[in-house]
Symmetry: C2
Subunit: 307 residues, 2 copies
Protein backbone atom coordinates (compact mmCIF):
# COMPACT_ATOMS: atom_id res chain seq x y z
CA UNK A 1 0.00 0.00 0.00
CA UNK A 2 1.21 3.51 -0.51
CA UNK A 3 1.37 6.36 1.90
CA UNK A 4 1.41 10.12 1.53
CA UNK A 5 3.34 12.00 4.20
CA UNK A 6 2.86 15.74 4.60
CA UNK A 7 5.29 17.58 6.82
CA UNK A 8 8.51 19.49 7.13
CA UNK A 9 11.82 18.64 5.51
CA UNK A 10 14.37 20.72 7.32
CA UNK A 11 17.82 21.55 8.54
CA UNK A 12 18.27 20.91 12.25
CA UNK A 13 21.04 22.15 14.51
CA UNK A 14 21.04 20.22 17.73
CA UNK A 15 22.93 20.51 21.00
CA UNK A 16 22.70 17.80 23.63
CA UNK A 17 24.86 17.15 26.71
CA UNK A 18 26.69 14.63 24.49
CA UNK A 19 27.54 16.79 21.52
CA UNK A 20 26.50 19.11 18.71
CA UNK A 21 25.37 18.67 15.14
CA UNK A 22 25.04 21.57 12.70
CA UNK A 23 22.52 21.80 9.87
CA UNK A 24 21.84 18.11 9.62
CA UNK A 25 18.89 16.55 7.84
CA UNK A 26 15.71 16.91 9.87
CA UNK A 27 11.98 17.56 9.69
CA UNK A 28 8.87 15.57 10.54
CA UNK A 29 8.28 14.22 7.03
CA UNK A 30 11.91 13.10 6.83
CA UNK A 31 11.68 10.89 9.93
CA UNK A 32 8.18 9.66 9.07
CA UNK A 33 9.20 8.82 5.49
CA UNK A 34 12.41 7.06 6.52
CA UNK A 35 10.59 4.98 9.14
CA UNK A 36 7.82 3.95 6.74
CA UNK A 37 10.39 3.31 4.01
CA UNK A 38 12.22 0.88 6.34
CA UNK A 39 9.00 -1.15 6.40
CA UNK A 40 8.98 -1.24 2.58
CA UNK A 41 6.04 1.11 2.32
CA UNK A 42 6.04 3.37 -0.73
CA UNK A 43 6.19 6.65 1.22
CA UNK A 44 5.56 9.80 -0.82
CA UNK A 45 6.53 13.07 0.81
CA UNK A 46 4.70 16.34 0.27
CA UNK A 47 6.86 19.22 1.47
CA UNK A 48 8.89 22.23 0.44
CA UNK A 49 12.63 22.96 0.48
CA UNK A 50 14.88 25.80 -0.64
CA UNK A 51 17.57 25.79 -3.32
CA UNK A 52 20.13 25.34 -0.52
CA UNK A 53 18.96 21.80 0.23
CA UNK A 54 21.69 19.31 -0.73
CA UNK A 55 20.92 16.77 -3.44
CA UNK A 56 22.70 14.23 -1.23
CA UNK A 57 19.86 14.44 1.32
CA UNK A 58 17.23 13.88 -1.37
CA UNK A 59 19.21 10.95 -2.65
CA UNK A 60 19.46 9.55 0.89
CA UNK A 61 15.67 9.68 1.16
CA UNK A 62 15.24 8.04 -2.27
CA UNK A 63 17.70 5.28 -1.43
CA UNK A 64 15.62 4.53 1.65
CA UNK A 65 12.50 4.03 -0.46
CA UNK A 66 11.06 7.52 -0.08
CA UNK A 67 9.46 9.23 -3.09
CA UNK A 68 10.47 12.91 -3.04
CA UNK A 69 8.74 13.99 -6.24
CA UNK A 70 6.12 15.81 -4.15
CA UNK A 71 8.73 18.00 -2.47
CA UNK A 72 8.55 21.43 -4.05
CA UNK A 73 11.88 23.17 -4.53
CA UNK A 74 11.89 26.97 -4.21
CA UNK A 75 15.19 27.71 -5.92
CA UNK A 76 15.69 31.18 -4.55
CA UNK A 77 14.42 30.29 -1.10
CA UNK A 78 15.99 28.82 2.02
CA UNK A 79 15.02 25.54 3.65
CA UNK A 80 13.16 25.56 6.98
CA UNK A 81 15.69 25.66 9.83
CA UNK A 82 15.24 24.62 13.45
CA UNK A 83 17.79 24.74 16.20
CA UNK A 84 17.40 23.45 19.74
CA UNK A 85 19.31 22.62 22.87
CA UNK A 86 18.41 19.70 25.13
CA UNK A 87 18.76 19.95 28.89
CA UNK A 88 20.63 17.43 30.98
CA UNK A 89 17.50 15.34 31.52
CA UNK A 90 17.15 14.95 27.71
CA UNK A 91 13.38 15.29 28.18
CA UNK A 92 13.16 19.06 27.91
CA UNK A 93 14.64 21.40 25.35
CA UNK A 94 14.87 25.05 24.40
CA UNK A 95 14.21 26.13 20.84
CA UNK A 96 17.06 28.46 19.91
CA UNK A 97 16.07 29.36 16.35
CA UNK A 98 13.06 28.77 14.12
CA UNK A 99 13.44 30.13 10.58
CA UNK A 100 10.34 29.24 8.58
CA UNK A 101 11.89 30.38 5.28
CA UNK A 102 10.14 28.60 2.36
CA UNK A 103 7.69 27.02 4.81
CA UNK A 104 6.10 30.45 5.38
CA UNK A 105 4.37 30.34 1.97
CA UNK A 106 3.90 26.59 1.77
CA UNK A 107 0.63 25.71 0.06
CA UNK A 108 1.08 22.10 -0.97
CA UNK A 109 -0.34 20.72 -4.20
CA UNK A 110 -0.47 16.96 -4.43
CA UNK A 111 1.02 15.41 -7.58
CA UNK A 112 -1.62 13.40 -9.47
CA UNK A 113 0.28 10.19 -8.77
CA UNK A 114 -0.20 10.77 -5.00
CA UNK A 115 -3.97 11.16 -5.10
CA UNK A 116 -4.98 7.51 -4.99
CA UNK A 117 -2.91 6.66 -1.92
CA UNK A 118 -4.84 4.85 0.77
CA UNK A 119 -2.86 6.08 3.79
CA UNK A 120 -2.23 9.68 4.72
CA UNK A 121 0.06 10.89 7.49
CA UNK A 122 -0.30 14.55 8.41
CA UNK A 123 2.90 15.52 10.19
CA UNK A 124 2.80 18.43 12.62
CA UNK A 125 2.04 21.56 10.54
CA UNK A 126 -0.39 24.49 10.41
CA UNK A 127 -3.85 22.87 10.67
CA UNK A 128 -5.08 24.83 7.61
CA UNK A 129 -2.37 23.20 5.50
CA UNK A 130 -3.24 19.77 6.86
CA UNK A 131 -6.88 20.38 5.85
CA UNK A 132 -5.87 21.67 2.44
CA UNK A 133 -4.10 18.37 1.79
CA UNK A 134 -7.01 16.20 2.91
CA UNK A 135 -9.32 18.09 0.53
CA UNK A 136 -7.17 17.30 -2.47
CA UNK A 137 -7.95 13.60 -2.34
CA UNK A 138 -10.75 12.79 -4.80
CA UNK A 139 -11.55 9.76 -2.64
CA UNK A 140 -10.93 10.02 1.10
CA UNK A 141 -7.88 7.94 2.10
CA UNK A 142 -8.69 4.78 3.98
CA UNK A 143 -6.78 5.96 7.06
CA UNK A 144 -5.73 9.48 8.02
CA UNK A 145 -3.31 9.86 10.92
CA UNK A 146 -2.64 13.36 12.24
CA UNK A 147 0.09 14.67 14.48
CA UNK A 148 -0.12 18.11 16.04
CA UNK A 149 1.20 20.07 19.02
CA UNK A 150 0.21 22.55 21.72
CA UNK A 151 1.37 25.52 19.60
CA UNK A 152 -1.69 25.11 17.34
CA UNK A 153 -3.97 24.83 20.36
CA UNK A 154 -2.80 28.29 21.35
CA UNK A 155 -2.83 29.90 17.90
CA UNK A 156 -5.26 28.10 15.56
CA UNK A 157 -7.89 26.49 17.79
CA UNK A 158 -10.85 26.50 15.37
CA UNK A 159 -8.84 25.20 12.41
CA UNK A 160 -7.29 22.57 14.62
CA UNK A 161 -10.66 21.25 15.84
CA UNK A 162 -11.89 21.21 12.26
CA UNK A 163 -8.98 19.06 11.05
CA UNK A 164 -9.21 16.80 14.10
CA UNK A 165 -12.83 16.09 13.16
CA UNK A 166 -11.67 14.86 9.73
CA UNK A 167 -9.05 12.27 10.77
CA UNK A 168 -9.09 8.66 11.99
CA UNK A 169 -6.14 8.71 14.39
CA UNK A 170 -4.76 11.64 16.37
CA UNK A 171 -1.29 11.39 17.95
CA UNK A 172 -0.37 13.85 20.69
CA UNK A 173 1.53 13.80 23.97
CA UNK A 174 -0.06 13.58 27.43
CA UNK A 175 0.15 17.30 28.23
CA UNK A 176 -1.39 18.12 24.85
CA UNK A 177 -4.20 15.61 25.43
CA UNK A 178 -4.92 17.36 28.73
CA UNK A 179 -4.85 20.80 27.12
CA UNK A 180 -7.01 19.76 24.17
CA UNK A 181 -9.66 18.12 26.35
CA UNK A 182 -9.47 20.23 29.52
CA UNK A 183 -9.40 16.96 31.48
CA UNK A 184 -6.53 15.83 33.70
CA UNK A 185 -7.46 12.15 33.73
CA UNK A 186 -6.20 10.63 30.48
CA UNK A 187 -9.18 8.27 30.43
CA UNK A 188 -11.55 11.24 30.40
CA UNK A 189 -9.32 13.19 28.04
CA UNK A 190 -9.36 10.29 25.58
CA UNK A 191 -13.14 9.99 25.73
CA UNK A 192 -13.56 13.69 25.02
CA UNK A 193 -11.04 13.74 22.17
CA UNK A 194 -12.62 10.68 20.55
CA UNK A 195 -15.95 12.51 20.69
CA UNK A 196 -14.32 15.27 18.61
CA UNK A 197 -14.00 12.95 15.62
CA UNK A 198 -10.99 10.60 15.58
CA UNK A 199 -11.86 6.96 16.16
CA UNK A 200 -8.43 6.35 17.67
CA UNK A 201 -6.17 8.38 19.91
CA UNK A 202 -2.49 7.72 20.54
CA UNK A 203 -1.07 9.48 23.60
CA UNK A 204 2.72 9.61 23.41
CA UNK A 205 4.53 9.71 26.76
CA UNK A 206 8.17 9.63 25.65
CA UNK A 207 10.28 7.51 27.97
CA UNK A 208 7.05 6.34 29.66
CA UNK A 209 5.62 4.68 26.55
CA UNK A 210 2.37 5.30 24.72
CA UNK A 211 -1.36 4.69 25.14
CA UNK A 212 -3.78 3.74 22.38
CA UNK A 213 -7.49 4.41 22.91
CA UNK A 214 -10.61 3.80 20.94
CA UNK A 215 -14.14 4.18 22.27
CA UNK A 216 -14.03 0.92 24.22
CA UNK A 217 -10.42 -0.14 24.66
CA UNK A 218 -7.06 0.97 25.90
CA UNK A 219 -3.62 -0.42 25.15
CA UNK A 220 -0.47 0.52 27.01
CA UNK A 221 2.82 0.19 25.11
CA UNK A 222 6.03 0.48 27.10
CA UNK A 223 9.10 2.37 26.03
CA UNK A 224 12.26 0.32 26.21
CA UNK A 225 14.51 1.68 28.97
CA UNK A 226 17.66 2.62 27.07
CA UNK A 227 21.27 2.64 28.10
CA UNK A 228 21.95 5.77 26.06
CA UNK A 229 19.67 8.52 24.86
CA UNK A 230 21.85 10.55 22.56
CA UNK A 231 19.41 12.83 20.74
CA UNK A 232 15.61 12.68 21.18
CA UNK A 233 14.98 14.74 18.01
CA UNK A 234 12.67 12.91 15.63
CA UNK A 235 11.56 10.24 18.12
CA UNK A 236 7.88 11.20 17.87
CA UNK A 237 7.99 11.36 14.08
CA UNK A 238 9.83 8.05 13.81
CA UNK A 239 7.15 6.57 16.05
CA UNK A 240 4.41 7.98 13.80
CA UNK A 241 6.18 6.74 10.65
CA UNK A 242 6.63 3.26 12.08
CA UNK A 243 3.03 3.25 13.26
CA UNK A 244 1.38 4.23 9.97
CA UNK A 245 4.02 2.35 8.00
CA UNK A 246 3.14 -0.88 9.77
CA UNK A 247 -0.58 -0.29 9.17
CA UNK A 248 -0.03 0.53 5.49
CA UNK A 249 2.22 -2.47 5.07
CA UNK A 250 -0.29 -4.90 6.59
CA UNK A 251 -3.39 -3.17 5.23
CA UNK A 252 -5.12 -3.90 8.54
CA UNK A 253 -6.51 -0.93 10.48
CA UNK A 254 -8.14 -2.74 13.41
CA UNK A 255 -7.42 -1.90 17.06
CA UNK A 256 -5.58 -5.23 17.41
CA UNK A 257 -3.26 -4.37 14.57
CA UNK A 258 -2.75 -0.82 15.82
CA UNK A 259 -1.33 -2.37 19.00
CA UNK A 260 1.33 -4.06 16.88
CA UNK A 261 1.85 -0.85 14.93
CA UNK A 262 2.55 1.04 18.17
CA UNK A 263 5.12 -1.54 19.21
CA UNK A 264 6.82 -1.18 15.80
CA UNK A 265 6.77 2.61 16.07
CA UNK A 266 8.19 2.54 19.61
CA UNK A 267 10.91 0.09 18.65
CA UNK A 268 11.95 2.19 15.65
CA UNK A 269 11.98 5.37 17.74
CA UNK A 270 14.32 3.68 20.21
CA UNK A 271 16.93 3.48 17.43
CA UNK A 272 16.46 7.11 16.43
CA UNK A 273 17.31 8.43 19.89
CA UNK A 274 20.49 6.36 20.15
CA UNK A 275 22.27 8.47 17.49
CA UNK A 276 22.28 12.07 16.29
CA UNK A 277 19.61 13.02 13.76
CA UNK A 278 18.48 10.38 11.28
CA UNK A 279 21.60 8.20 11.56
CA UNK A 280 20.13 5.62 13.94
CA UNK A 281 17.07 5.20 11.75
CA UNK A 282 19.02 5.09 8.46
CA UNK A 283 21.31 2.33 9.70
CA UNK A 284 18.55 0.23 11.21
CA UNK A 285 18.21 -3.25 9.73
CA UNK A 286 15.23 -5.55 10.09
CA UNK A 287 17.11 -8.13 12.14
CA UNK A 288 17.93 -5.55 14.79
CA UNK A 289 14.38 -4.25 14.68
CA UNK A 290 12.90 -7.71 15.19
CA UNK A 291 15.32 -8.33 18.06
CA UNK A 292 14.19 -5.14 19.76
CA UNK A 293 10.53 -6.00 19.25
CA UNK A 294 11.23 -9.29 21.01
CA UNK A 295 12.72 -7.29 23.90
CA UNK A 296 9.53 -5.20 24.07
CA UNK A 297 7.47 -8.34 24.11
CA UNK A 298 9.56 -10.02 26.83
CA UNK A 299 9.53 -6.88 28.91
CA UNK A 300 5.75 -6.77 29.35
CA UNK A 301 4.96 -10.48 29.46
CA UNK A 302 3.52 -11.87 32.64
CA UNK A 303 1.33 -14.82 33.34
CA UNK A 304 -1.18 -14.76 36.18
CA UNK A 305 -3.80 -17.43 36.61
CA UNK A 306 -6.75 -16.07 38.54
CA UNK A 307 -9.47 -18.06 40.26
Amino acid sequence: MSLVVVGTVAFDSIETPFGKADKILGGAATYIGLAAGKLNVDAKIVSVIGGDFPAAYLSLLNKNGVDTSGIKVVNNGKTFFWSGRYHNDMNTRDTLVTELNVLADFNPELPESYKNCEFLMLGNLTPAIQRHVIRQFPVRPRLIVMDTMNFWMNTAWDDLLDVISMVDVLTINDEEARQLSGEYSLVRAARKIISMGPRFLVIKKGEHGALLFNKDNVFFAPALPLEEVFDPTGAGDTFAGGFIGYLACSGDVTFENMKRAIIFGSAMASFTVEKFGTVGLQNLDMTELNERIRQFSDMVQFDISLD
Copy 2:
Protein backbone atom coordinates in the same frame (compact mmCIF):
# COMPACT_ATOMS: atom_id res chain seq x y z
CA MET B 1 3.99 -17.34 55.29
CA SER B 2 4.21 -14.49 57.71
CA LEU B 3 5.48 -11.01 57.17
CA VAL B 4 6.90 -8.35 59.46
CA VAL B 5 6.19 -4.76 58.41
CA VAL B 6 8.16 -1.93 59.96
CA GLY B 7 6.94 1.59 59.34
CA THR B 8 4.81 4.47 60.45
CA VAL B 9 1.27 4.28 61.77
CA ALA B 10 -0.01 7.81 61.63
CA PHE B 11 -2.68 10.45 61.46
CA ASP B 12 -2.90 12.08 58.04
CA SER B 13 -4.67 15.28 57.11
CA ILE B 14 -5.06 15.52 53.37
CA GLU B 15 -6.29 18.19 50.98
CA THR B 16 -6.84 17.44 47.33
CA PRO B 17 -8.70 19.42 44.65
CA PHE B 18 -11.62 17.07 45.40
CA GLY B 19 -11.91 17.49 49.15
CA LYS B 20 -10.36 17.37 52.62
CA ALA B 21 -9.93 14.72 55.26
CA ASP B 22 -8.75 15.50 58.81
CA LYS B 23 -6.70 13.21 61.02
CA ILE B 24 -7.58 10.01 59.23
CA LEU B 25 -5.72 6.73 59.57
CA GLY B 26 -2.45 6.81 57.64
CA GLY B 27 1.19 5.71 57.70
CA ALA B 28 3.34 3.43 55.56
CA ALA B 29 2.92 0.33 57.76
CA THR B 30 -0.85 0.84 57.78
CA TYR B 31 -1.16 0.69 54.00
CA ILE B 32 1.43 -2.07 53.66
CA GLY B 33 -0.24 -4.16 56.36
CA LEU B 34 -3.75 -3.68 54.95
CA ALA B 35 -2.61 -4.60 51.44
CA ALA B 36 -0.77 -7.74 52.60
CA GLY B 37 -3.70 -8.63 54.87
CA LYS B 38 -6.04 -8.53 51.87
CA LEU B 39 -3.93 -11.30 50.36
CA ASN B 40 -4.39 -13.38 53.54
CA VAL B 41 -0.81 -12.90 54.65
CA ASP B 42 -0.28 -12.78 58.39
CA ALA B 43 1.13 -9.24 58.48
CA LYS B 44 2.71 -8.18 61.76
CA ILE B 45 3.31 -4.47 62.21
CA VAL B 46 6.21 -3.00 64.16
CA SER B 47 5.55 0.65 64.88
CA VAL B 48 4.77 3.21 67.57
CA ILE B 49 1.66 5.25 68.37
CA GLY B 50 0.61 7.71 71.08
CA GLY B 51 -2.14 7.37 73.64
CA ASP B 52 -4.32 9.50 71.34
CA PHE B 53 -4.58 6.75 68.73
CA PRO B 54 -8.16 5.46 68.58
CA ALA B 55 -8.81 1.82 69.44
CA ALA B 56 -11.16 1.76 66.45
CA TYR B 57 -8.20 2.11 64.09
CA LEU B 58 -6.34 -0.75 65.75
CA SER B 59 -9.47 -2.84 65.54
CA LEU B 60 -9.84 -1.96 61.85
CA LEU B 61 -6.30 -3.23 61.23
CA ASN B 62 -6.96 -6.41 63.24
CA LYS B 63 -10.19 -7.10 61.37
CA ASN B 64 -8.24 -6.88 58.13
CA GLY B 65 -5.85 -9.58 59.27
CA VAL B 66 -3.10 -7.32 60.60
CA ASP B 67 -1.32 -8.24 63.85
CA THR B 68 -0.79 -5.04 65.84
CA SER B 69 0.86 -6.57 68.91
CA GLY B 70 4.21 -5.14 67.77
CA ILE B 71 2.89 -1.58 67.81
CA LYS B 72 4.23 0.11 70.91
CA VAL B 73 1.83 2.49 72.62
CA VAL B 74 3.37 5.53 74.34
CA ASN B 75 0.47 6.51 76.56
CA ASN B 76 1.55 10.06 77.28
CA GLY B 77 2.74 10.68 73.72
CA LYS B 78 1.10 11.82 70.50
CA THR B 79 0.88 9.80 67.31
CA PHE B 80 2.98 10.81 64.28
CA PHE B 81 1.05 13.38 62.25
CA TRP B 82 1.46 14.30 58.59
CA SER B 83 -0.50 16.84 56.64
CA GLY B 84 -0.24 17.56 52.92
CA ARG B 85 -1.94 19.35 50.07
CA TYR B 86 -2.02 17.95 46.54
CA HIS B 87 -1.80 20.24 43.53
CA ASN B 88 -4.27 20.16 40.67
CA ASP B 89 -2.18 17.63 38.76
CA MET B 90 -2.45 15.21 41.72
CA ASN B 91 1.16 14.23 41.05
CA THR B 92 2.83 16.85 43.22
CA ARG B 93 2.10 17.86 46.78
CA ASP B 94 3.24 20.20 49.52
CA THR B 95 3.86 18.89 53.00
CA LEU B 96 2.08 21.29 55.34
CA VAL B 97 2.91 19.72 58.71
CA THR B 98 5.17 16.92 59.93
CA GLU B 99 4.95 16.26 63.67
CA LEU B 100 7.17 13.30 64.51
CA ASN B 101 5.84 13.06 68.10
CA VAL B 102 6.38 9.50 69.42
CA LEU B 103 8.28 8.60 66.24
CA ALA B 104 11.14 10.87 67.36
CA ASP B 105 12.28 8.33 69.96
CA PHE B 106 11.19 5.20 68.12
CA ASN B 107 13.61 2.33 68.72
CA PRO B 108 11.65 -0.75 67.76
CA GLU B 109 12.02 -4.02 69.62
CA LEU B 110 10.61 -7.04 67.83
CA PRO B 111 8.28 -9.26 69.86
CA GLU B 112 9.66 -12.82 70.12
CA SER B 113 6.75 -14.11 68.04
CA TYR B 114 7.86 -11.91 65.12
CA LYS B 115 11.43 -13.16 64.96
CA ASN B 116 10.90 -16.26 62.85
CA CYS B 117 9.05 -14.46 60.05
CA GLU B 118 10.40 -15.20 56.59
CA PHE B 119 9.44 -11.92 54.94
CA LEU B 120 10.41 -8.46 56.10
CA MET B 121 9.13 -5.19 54.68
CA LEU B 122 11.02 -2.09 55.76
CA GLY B 123 8.70 0.84 55.13
CA ASN B 124 10.23 4.26 54.60
CA LEU B 125 11.92 5.24 57.89
CA THR B 126 15.28 6.43 59.24
CA PRO B 127 17.81 3.97 57.76
CA ALA B 128 19.34 3.37 61.21
CA ILE B 129 15.98 2.10 62.47
CA GLN B 130 15.56 -0.14 59.43
CA ARG B 131 18.99 -1.63 60.17
CA HIS B 132 18.21 -2.03 63.85
CA VAL B 133 15.19 -4.17 62.88
CA ILE B 134 17.12 -6.38 60.46
CA ARG B 135 19.70 -7.10 63.18
CA GLN B 136 17.07 -8.42 65.58
CA PHE B 137 16.32 -11.45 63.45
CA PRO B 138 18.28 -14.45 64.76
CA VAL B 139 18.06 -15.94 61.25
CA ARG B 140 18.03 -13.55 58.31
CA PRO B 141 14.54 -13.39 56.75
CA ARG B 142 14.23 -15.11 53.40
CA LEU B 143 13.34 -11.85 51.64
CA ILE B 144 13.89 -8.28 52.80
CA VAL B 145 12.19 -5.51 50.83
CA MET B 146 13.10 -1.93 51.62
CA ASP B 147 11.40 1.32 50.75
CA THR B 148 13.15 4.66 51.19
CA MET B 149 13.08 8.21 49.84
CA ASN B 150 15.28 11.09 48.74
CA PHE B 151 15.15 12.70 52.22
CA TRP B 152 17.52 10.00 53.56
CA MET B 153 19.85 10.45 50.59
CA ASN B 154 20.27 14.05 51.70
CA THR B 155 20.53 13.45 55.46
CA ALA B 156 21.75 9.89 56.19
CA TRP B 157 23.78 8.80 53.16
CA ASP B 158 26.18 6.36 54.87
CA ASP B 159 23.48 4.65 56.93
CA LEU B 160 21.29 4.43 53.86
CA LEU B 161 23.96 2.74 51.75
CA ASP B 162 24.66 0.35 54.61
CA VAL B 163 21.01 -0.75 54.85
CA ILE B 164 20.69 -0.96 51.06
CA SER B 165 23.59 -3.42 51.06
CA MET B 166 21.64 -5.68 53.46
CA VAL B 167 18.35 -6.06 51.53
CA ASP B 168 17.09 -8.15 48.62
CA VAL B 169 14.71 -5.70 46.96
CA LEU B 170 14.84 -1.91 46.97
CA THR B 171 11.77 0.10 45.92
CA ILE B 172 12.24 3.77 45.01
CA ASN B 173 10.87 6.19 42.43
CA ASP B 174 12.62 7.19 39.21
CA GLU B 175 14.01 10.49 40.49
CA GLU B 176 15.36 8.77 43.60
CA ALA B 177 16.97 6.04 41.48
CA ARG B 178 18.72 8.79 39.52
CA GLN B 179 19.83 10.58 42.67
CA LEU B 180 21.03 7.41 44.38
CA SER B 181 23.05 6.27 41.36
CA GLY B 182 24.10 9.57 39.80
CA GLU B 183 22.96 8.15 36.45
CA TYR B 184 20.15 9.59 34.33
CA SER B 185 19.54 6.46 32.26
CA LEU B 186 17.41 4.12 34.35
CA VAL B 187 19.19 1.12 32.82
CA ARG B 188 22.50 2.41 34.11
CA ALA B 189 20.97 3.54 37.40
CA ALA B 190 19.57 0.06 37.95
CA ARG B 191 22.91 -1.59 37.21
CA LYS B 192 24.67 0.67 39.70
CA ILE B 193 22.07 0.20 42.44
CA ILE B 194 22.10 -3.57 42.03
CA SER B 195 25.89 -3.43 42.45
CA MET B 196 25.26 -1.79 45.86
CA GLY B 197 23.69 -4.96 47.19
CA PRO B 198 20.02 -5.58 46.37
CA ARG B 199 19.42 -8.38 43.86
CA PHE B 200 16.23 -6.68 42.68
CA LEU B 201 15.25 -3.09 42.12
CA VAL B 202 11.71 -1.79 41.69
CA ILE B 203 11.47 1.70 40.19
CA LYS B 204 8.05 3.20 40.86
CA LYS B 205 6.84 5.75 38.29
CA GLY B 206 3.36 6.54 39.63
CA GLU B 207 0.88 6.98 36.80
CA HIS B 208 3.55 5.71 34.38
CA GLY B 209 3.82 2.27 35.98
CA ALA B 210 6.83 0.50 37.45
CA LEU B 211 10.02 -1.23 36.35
CA LEU B 212 11.52 -4.34 37.89
CA PHE B 213 15.22 -5.03 37.35
CA ASN B 214 17.58 -7.77 38.33
CA LYS B 215 21.10 -8.19 36.99
CA ASP B 216 19.94 -9.58 33.66
CA ASN B 217 16.28 -8.73 33.16
CA VAL B 218 13.82 -5.90 33.08
CA PHE B 219 10.05 -5.98 33.41
CA PHE B 220 7.76 -3.04 32.71
CA ALA B 221 4.42 -2.98 34.53
CA PRO B 222 1.86 -0.45 33.37
CA ALA B 223 -0.32 1.65 35.63
CA LEU B 224 -3.98 1.45 34.79
CA PRO B 225 -5.16 4.81 33.42
CA LEU B 226 -7.87 5.78 35.89
CA GLU B 227 -11.03 7.76 35.44
CA GLU B 228 -10.65 9.35 38.89
CA VAL B 229 -7.63 9.87 41.09
CA PHE B 230 -9.08 11.07 44.34
CA ASP B 231 -6.15 10.87 46.78
CA PRO B 232 -2.71 9.48 45.89
CA THR B 233 -1.67 9.13 49.56
CA GLY B 234 -0.59 5.58 50.33
CA ALA B 235 -0.35 4.44 46.70
CA GLY B 236 3.35 3.56 46.97
CA ASP B 237 2.87 1.76 50.30
CA THR B 238 -0.15 -0.16 49.01
CA PHE B 239 1.96 -1.17 46.02
CA ALA B 240 4.75 -2.37 48.33
CA GLY B 241 2.28 -4.24 50.54
CA GLY B 242 0.64 -5.94 47.59
CA PHE B 243 4.07 -6.77 46.17
CA ILE B 244 5.57 -8.40 49.25
CA GLY B 245 2.17 -9.81 50.25
CA TYR B 246 1.92 -11.67 46.96
CA LEU B 247 5.47 -13.00 47.34
CA ALA B 248 4.86 -14.09 50.95
CA CYS B 249 1.56 -15.69 50.01
CA SER B 250 3.06 -17.71 47.15
CA GLY B 251 6.42 -18.36 48.83
CA ASP B 252 8.08 -17.87 45.44
CA VAL B 253 10.75 -15.16 45.19
CA THR B 254 11.87 -15.65 41.58
CA PHE B 255 11.97 -12.82 39.02
CA GLU B 256 9.00 -14.41 37.20
CA ASN B 257 6.90 -14.33 40.33
CA MET B 258 8.00 -10.80 41.18
CA LYS B 259 6.46 -9.75 37.86
CA ARG B 260 3.12 -11.07 39.08
CA ALA B 261 3.70 -9.46 42.47
CA ILE B 262 4.19 -6.07 40.81
CA ILE B 263 0.94 -6.44 38.88
CA PHE B 264 -0.86 -7.28 42.15
CA GLY B 265 0.73 -4.30 43.89
CA SER B 266 -0.17 -1.95 41.03
CA ALA B 267 -3.74 -3.21 40.88
CA MET B 268 -4.19 -2.78 44.64
CA ALA B 269 -2.72 0.74 44.54
CA SER B 270 -5.23 1.67 41.85
CA PHE B 271 -8.01 1.09 44.41
CA THR B 272 -6.25 3.13 47.09
CA VAL B 273 -6.10 6.28 44.95
CA GLU B 274 -9.78 6.11 44.03
CA LYS B 275 -10.88 7.01 47.59
CA PHE B 276 -9.59 9.12 50.48
CA GLY B 277 -7.08 7.45 52.82
CA THR B 278 -7.38 3.72 53.38
CA VAL B 279 -11.06 3.47 52.38
CA GLY B 280 -10.49 2.16 48.84
CA LEU B 281 -8.11 -0.51 50.13
CA GLN B 282 -10.32 -1.54 53.07
CA ASN B 283 -13.36 -2.06 50.85
CA LEU B 284 -11.51 -3.97 48.15
CA ASP B 285 -12.74 -7.51 47.56
CA MET B 286 -10.91 -10.24 45.69
CA THR B 287 -13.42 -10.38 42.83
CA GLU B 288 -12.82 -6.71 42.05
CA LEU B 289 -9.08 -7.19 42.39
CA ASN B 290 -9.06 -10.13 39.99
CA GLU B 291 -11.16 -8.15 37.51
CA ARG B 292 -8.67 -5.29 37.63
CA ILE B 293 -5.75 -7.64 37.15
CA ARG B 294 -7.50 -8.93 34.05
CA GLN B 295 -7.71 -5.32 32.82
CA PHE B 296 -3.95 -4.92 33.38
CA SER B 297 -3.31 -8.09 31.47
CA ASP B 298 -5.58 -7.10 28.54
CA MET B 299 -4.06 -3.65 28.42
CA VAL B 300 -0.52 -4.84 27.66
CA GLN B 301 -1.26 -7.89 25.54
CA PHE B 302 -0.11 -7.86 21.95
CA ASP B 303 0.79 -10.59 19.57
CA ILE B 304 3.44 -10.07 16.93
CA SER B 305 4.81 -12.90 14.86
CA LEU B 306 8.25 -12.05 13.59
CA ASP B 307 10.12 -13.72 10.75
